[in-house]
Structures are given as C-alpha cells and as structure tokens.
Amino acid sequence: METVSSSIPLENFIVLSSMLFSIGVYGVLARRNAVLILMSVELMLNAVSINMVAFAVYTAPSLFVGIIFAIFVITIAAAEVGLALAIVLRVFKNRGTANVDEIDTLKW
C-alpha cells in the first residue's frame, strides 16, 4: 500500500460527516412521514461511513477495519430499508396513514 500526501486534512472530512449527521438527526426528529424519517436515517448512516473511511485511510489502514465496517454499514442499511419500508407499507394498509404521530395505539 502506498501513502500519498493529501491536500485535504482529516478534519475536513470529519466536519463534513458531523454536519451530515446533524442534518439527519434534524430530519428524524422533525419529519412526520415514516418514509422521510427513513431517508434521514440513511443520511446519518452515510455520515458514519464517511467518518470511518476517513479515519481508516488517514490513521489506521492496516486491517482495513474502517472500510470493511463501511461495507457492512451499506449492507445492513440495505436490509434495514427493505424491512422498514415493508413495515411502513403494512402500517399504511392497516391504519391508512404513514405519519408516525398518527400511529399512537401504544400511547395512553
């Protein structure tokens, strides 16, 4: 593996990833449509992947831990989005809405 000097410091990638993560947090908290909440979760997962890949290539490339972890994050995200959208569809069929604040059967 060769090492090259990069003109972008590691901090830039971490700042980008924390901004993306915060935007995702805002989306999860503010939106009420379940599909939009899932899209915000995808943003957060991507922010974490950027963070781990940046640390992997800049500080600890030996076992590719960060890169492998990012691959697993993408895999699990695909599984999660498929399953979650199936649940959203089922909820929509049963309750006629995909808004999380109208699905309040467990609230008392």
Partner: protein, 164 residues
C-alpha cells in the same frame, strides 16, 4: 485542485441533505437524497476508496432509492397539501444544532497527530483479500442477515387472504 473538488462535492452532499429534510414535496426529497448519496460516493473517491464509491452508487443510487420511491408512491394518501413536519420542528432544530455544536467543539479540542495529511491508497485487491480471509465470518453473517431481512420484508408486505 483536489480541495476545489472537495468543497464542491461537500456542497452537493450538504445541499442535498438539507433538501431531504427541508423540502415540502416527498418526491423531490427522494431525488435530493440520490444527489446527496452520489456526493458521498464522490467523497469516497477523494478518500481513494473507489470500491466503496462503486458500491455506494450501485446500492444507494439503484436499490435503496427505488425502494424509497416505491414506498412513497404506495403510501400516498391523496392529500396534496399534507403537512410533512410535526409541531416539534423548532425543538428538533435546536437539538440538531446543539449536536452539531458539540461535534465541532469536540473536533476543535482534539489534539490530532501531526502527520494527518498522509493518506493511504488502498487497492481493490487488498480489500477483497481482507474481506474473504480476515473478515469472512462477518461477511457470511451479513449475507445471512440480508437474506432473512428480505424474506421478512416479503412476508410482512405480502397481502393476506381477504385483503383487497
């Protein structure tokens, strides 16, 4: 030159992400999500991990966004002017900004090692070797998880007897 590309791609990623959480049309939100995630693929290329960039484009650009668009289509209620944000929106903004502030303060205060502008170029073949030797067991478990999740999704979304 690389820096210009970095700031350009970062702007695409952040603008797309802001669009996803702020825009008032769900289909536009999904399309902006594609833009943001393709920007993330560009970030991976800047980090010299081309393999992840390709996977990102295949999985997010292809599979995930198609799923999301189908879910949006199938959960349309017909009300065009439906409110997409809850009443907790200002609180959510405060919480997200506080989180961002905490992150930025943490990044500022951390004493990074000095040689942090040395980037290791990881070749395709090395990632493949590592994935199928050192990380073979987690890889197989992940494929099992994917299979179970997809079968589960089919079972959950399937129409039961007596349903329209």
């Amino acid at each position: 030159m690389t820096q210009v590309f970095f700031y350009l791609i970062s702007a695409i990623v952040i603008a797309g992400a802001l669009g996803v959480v702020l825009v008032r049309n769900v289909v536009y939100a999904a399309l902006l999500l594609i833009m943001s995630l393709m920007g993330v693929a560009g970030i991976y290329i800047l980090l010299s991990v081309e393999f992840l960039a390709l996977v990102q484009i295949l999985v997010y650009g292809g599979a995930v966004t198609v799923l999301v668009l189908f879910a949006l289509m199938l959960t349309r209620t017909g009300e065009l002017k439906e409110k997409l944000d809850g009443e907790q929106k200002p609180l959510a903004a405060v919480a997200a900004l506080a989180l961002l502030g905490a992150f930025l303060a943490m990044i500022r205060q951390t004493a990074w090692p000095r040689d942090l502008n040395q980037l290791t170029v990881v070749p395709f073949t090395d990632i493949g070797d590592a994935l199928f030797s050192r990380w073979a067991v987690p890889f197989e478990i992940a494929s099992g998880v994917l299979l179970v999740a997809l079968i589960g999704a089919v079972v959950i979304a399937m129409q039961e007897e007596g349903e329209r």
